[in-house]
Amino acid sequence: MKGRLALLLTVALLAVAGWWWQDRPVRPRVTTRLLMGTLVEISTWGVTEPVSRRAVGLAFDEMARIEDRMSRMRPDSELARINQAQRGELQPISAELAQVVARGLEMGRLSSGAFDIGLAPLSDLWGFSLEPPPTRPPPPERIADWLAQRARQNGNGIALGGTAENKIRLENAGVGLDLGGIAKGYAVEQAVGILRREGVHDALINAGGDMRILGSKGGKPWHVGLRDPRDPQGVAAILDLLGEVALSTSGDYERYFMADGVRHHHILDPKTGQSARAGLISVSVQAPDAMTADGLSTALFVLGEQAGLEMLRHFPGCEALLIRADGGHFQTPGFIGRWVKGP
């Protein structure tokens, strides 16, 4: 009798341990995919493995779908079709792409043109998305030609016929859609919607420079490092983020090359046709949604500290941390983060 009870207790102990080991979310479940030209990582918390696997799989599928539609580098994407079409003529555009373009145009207006979704021809000149990456800047006369063409345009040369009409017109060869500064944020936000719908309420999506926080890790904040712009292995700030926060970082250190002692990077200034040089080397923006954070970090980088912070005033609930070329930094009072790099 006693032996049977002991056996029963041992089996019960093993069963409880098995259940605990299987289902207790002691750490986030992390899944990684290569998407949108970067490494995308989704971490979930507080859900079982099957729920997490299904939700994350669907979220990745959604991001891939958006990449298929909005990537400039995919010749069969909807965006590429618009870029390849005759200039000056109205082209059909899906409601979804029109919505992202409209948001990009709005960002452009609020940043006085510093944020520009029409820079595909200039991006092509620089070739930062090519393999192998460039080692020399484009010839100055080609940039001058592009600037001259831009000067003849009406505004940024993009006319959207309203989302109801679903038409778009690109004015001349100097303009082409490049949603690199905003589409990733849109994709991340859509992925968040999928996770929520599938019952995941605590998650972190990290898509290169774009991050989105959802909930917590069992009541604790998600622990995020902000890369030191001049030390790939170091962090400049630590951010403990909870709830609904998007974080986007734009810097001169991810896609760049050095030529004659000058750093040429992929964030281009529409006014000069060159890499933006407004005294900043990294800009991080916290916002309620990833698309706003994505667009703002690029805009602020191009505008520089003074004009950038002025623009930020138009976006309630958005905060920024700016790292200057001299290594100094400034963060707005509501930015959640602790500078750890030193003075």
Partner: protein, 131 residues
């Protein structure tokens, strides 16, 4: 207290030793599994698994990336991507990986390596790093 007395009465000293040993073994196993580095890695191309590698045996091998062959090296229980000169090769900055859940990738090649298993809290200083 009554429960404890009941349990003592209902079991022999040998039973109690068995139960205690089982409980200790479960705890020890949990600790070991949480700290154990991964010993297998999967290589993905365009997010599809193309190769499984044991990290117990040193070797250098090649897989076909989008832009040509990509070399992968396993040595001393760690793994890394080799020889593709691009700033977008995240692998060159990550270097060696060995812990469960660790990843390294060459983005333009479409190659991703992941060490099998879930990352332990102690192997990840941050939940994510913003670049």
């Amino acid at each position: 207290m009554n429960l404890w007395r009941l349990a003592v009465r209902a079991t022999t000293p040998a039973d109690r030793r068995t139960i205690l040993t089982t409980a200790l073994a479960i705890v020890a196993l949990g600790v070991v599994m949480a700290r154990m580095p991964g010993n297998r890695a999967t290589v993905y191309r365009d997010n599809r698994p193309i190769l499984a590698l044991s990290m117990d045996r040193d070797l250098t091998t090649e897989v076909a990336g989008r832009l040509g062959p990509v070399k992968i090296q396993v040595e001393g229980g760690r793994i890394r991507l080799l020889e593709y000169d691009s700033p977008r090769m995240i692998g060159t900055r990550t270097g060696w990986i060995r812990d469960a859940g660790g990843t390294t990738a060459c983005v333009p090649c479409g190659i991703l390596i992941r060490v099998e298993g879930e990352p332990g809290e102690e192997t990840r200083e941050y939940d994510a790093v913003a670049h």
